[in-house]
């Protein structure tokens, strides 16, 4: 087999057993790898109704066939598991160098099962796998843990995926971190790792990923790198200003969410934009493995020193969404989240919910006692509560359950801007209705990454669509985006390559690496299969589409109060039935037998 090694590492933490799980090329042709194969294993082996924080849940960590190769951005990996935040499947994705290293060690992924009796970490050096004691690491923050493990194994080359205190304390939106500041962030994969008493996975590898046609692959890769370098976004704006280059664009378009999405225009946007960051704090770019784009930021601040990030999403979540405009505080808060292993989007979203509950008088000073009041723009809130959440101290214990459960406990779940209990990212859907449909139908809840309709609706990729058009053309575009994102994740590449590359480009690289003769349609079909399989997992986990494929009431009933989108809500009711139909699903949003058969996944229904 080429591209993939044809084997997973299976580690059972309850029994201490370590096994090699081989699979056939036929299976790879169906699922490609990474997000695809992980979803397959999860569906095949696990009861979707299992307790996400129980030993029955599985944590599957997978680079893709192009990870560890010279393909541009080929360093990504996915963490696929059942989420404690949403109760549904999640596939958190991260860059950095860990994914590539796992490939160098000769593995297409690790399936972690069971639960260790005491804290442990897994150390992998090629075929050697050890489960080691991590008692002395438990409680340490991310940078300390990395340093301690590095010392212990005596290697500079080792790459580590790990959790901070948030994961240990089962914060429902804890992330898995790697390379210091890279996060597989969304929907609580870090808590699943913590529930297994697994502090870290450290990897060193010495192998070269097998490529079917080396010459052809090299030429193809060179061509694609050139395309990315010559693209004005992938080779221009992104390396220069990082992802926060979006702050101004989204704000000027009137969909930059402010104070828990109460409005979509922020007066202080420029002060926290990528432009301002580059001017004030940036010292260099930080690319992930084999990435010619290099959107990562390395900033320097007197308080925290040299730190990586924040991304666009984190700038917003810890900034405008809380009415906070001080960029230095935002960078510090981002650093804190990384050290504790907290998802920045959900942290910000949860705090914003608390602030609105406070503003409306549902959360009172009495309850807060000596803790700082949840006032908009209060930077003290950031630093104080981030720590309380990570350690589940005081009201932090309640906040650690996520914004939805927190708001629900006050009788106002509608004040949580989340879909399927996952806090929404930095785009008000009233300013991009197709993106809103994406939030509502996303398999892991309210996330932007797996259906980035901002691209056509705001940025004009692959072509400009009216953000308020809700025709079938829009819905079809969303479906293509969802399937394509599944395909790119399954390949082990970064979604930002889509600014310079199209579906045919991925086909070229995959065919040369894997030695297959697949058409673009064949590959998109794999994406569609993955999307449908995840949907099946969710249906079996208890998803009720007509109840759950929705948006917070605010977006459906409260018109945007100001700016270019003034007066708009999201016409979800009109789009959703079209989406179901164009996906080939039933009227109530289920995958019918015929569709499952067509995709070869009827066994999972």
């Amino acid at each position: 087999m080429y591209g993939n090694w044809g084997r997973f590492l299976r580690v059972n933490l309850s029994t201490g057993e370590v096994k090699v799980e081989e699979y056939s090329e036929e299976l790879a042709k169906k699922w490609l790898g990474s997000r695809g194969l992980a979803v397959y294993f999860l569906l095949k082996e696990m009861d979707p109704k299992a307790d996400p924080l129980g030993p029955e849940n599985k944590l599957i960590i997978t680079p893709g066939p192009l990870s560890g190769t010279s393909a541009p951005t080929g360093g990504r990996y996915n963490v696929v598991t059942k989420s404690p935040l949403t109760g549904l499947i999640t596939m958190a994705n991260s860059g950095g160098y860990f994914g590539a290293e796992l490939k160098f060690a000769g593995w297409d992924g690790i399936i972690v099962e069971g639960k260790a009796e005491k804290p442990v970490y897994i150390y992998i050096k090629d075929d050697n796998v050890e489960i080691r004691d991590a008692g002395h690491l438990w409680g340490k923050v991310v940078s300390e843990t990395e340093e301690a493990i590095r010392k212990e194994v005596g290697s500079k080359k080792v790459r580590i995926a790990l959790i901070g205190p948030a994961g240990e304390n089962l914060v429902k939106f804890a992330s898995v971190m790697n390379d210091g500041h890279r996060a597989a962030g969304r929907a609580g994969v870090g808590a699943v790792m913590g529930s297994k008493n697994l502090k870290a996975i450290a990897v060193e590898g010495s192998k070269q990923v097998p490529i079917a046609d080396k010459q052809k692959f090299m030429l193809t890769v060179r061509e694609k790198i050139n395309k990315l370098k010559n693209d004005p976004v992938a080779g221009g704006g992104l390396p220069k200003y990082g992802t926060a280059v979006l702050v101004n664009i989204i704000n000027e378009n009137g969909l930059y969410p402010v104070r828990n999405f109460q409005t979509g225009v922020y007066k202080h946007a420029y002060e926290q934009s990528g432009e301002a960051m580059a001017k004030k704090y940036l010292i260099r770019n930080q690319p992930c493995y084999a990435c010619p784009i290099g959107c990562g930021r390395v900033n320097k601040l007197p308080t925290v020193g040299v730190t990586e990030g924040p991304e666009y999403e984190s700038v917003w979540a810890l900034g405008a969404n809380l009415g906070i405009n001080d960029l230095a505080s935002i960078i510090e808060a981002n650093h804190q989240c990384d050290e504790f292993g907290l998802d920045t989007i959900s942290t910000g979203g949860t705090l914003a919910t608390a602030m609105e509950l406070y503003e409306k008088g549902y959360l009172t000073d009495e309850e807060l006692g000596d803790a700082p009041p949840f006032r908009w723009g209060n930077t003290e809130v950031l630093h104080y509560y981030i720590e309380k959440i990570a350690y589940r101290k005081g009201i932090g214990d309640k906040l650690a359950e996520g914004g939805y459960r927190f708001a629900e406990s006050y009788g106002h779940p509608e004040l949580s801007m989340s879909v399927k209990k996952l806090e929404l990212p930095a785009y008000d859907p009233r300013g991009a209705e197709g993106h809103g449909l994406g939030y509502a139908t996303n398999n892991r809840g309210g996330c932007h990454i797996k259906n980035y309709m901002i691209s056509p609706e705001i940025l004009g990729y692959p072509y400009k669509m009216d953000p308020h058009d809700i025709s079938d053309e829009k819905v079809k575009m969303l479906i293509i985006f969802q399937d394509l994102s599944a395909l790119i994740d399954a390949s082990g590449l970064c979604l930002f390559t889509t600014f310079g590359l199209g579906a045919d480009d991925y086909r070229d690289m995959l065919n040369a690496a894997l030695g297959w003769d697949f058409s673009t349609e064949d590959y998109l079909r794999i994406g569609e299969r993955i999307w449908n399989a995840e949907r099946i997992f969710n249906l079996r986990a208890g998803l009720d589409p007509l109840r759950d494929d929705t948006l917070p009431k605010r977006f459906l009933e409260e018109p945007m109060p100001e700016g270019p989108n003034k007066g708009y809500t999201v016409r979800l009711k009109e789009m959703l039935p079209r989406y179901y139909e164009l996906r080939g699903w039933t009227e109530d949003g289920r995958v019918p037998k015929e569709k499952a058969e067509e995709l070869g996944i009827a066994e999972f229904l």
Partner: protein, 82 residues
Amino acid sequence: MLVKLFATLIEFTGKRKLEISGPKTVGELLEELDRMFPGFKKELERGYIILVNGKNIEHLRGLDTPLSDEDTVSIFPPAGGG
């Protein structure tokens, strides 16, 4: 009218905001900016996002979109992220 510039255009012109009056359309405004900052139009050759009062000119009348002195025009080079 208020013209706001972003990303590389700030570096190119040395300005973030300008007050300009006179141009009757977006096309005319670009001519004016090119006169003030020679090479401005070339900077936009690989694409742009132009908003008039927050609405993309692609959904208005493109470069023929009419302008008045009360308008705010935001100009970006191509950009993306997430």
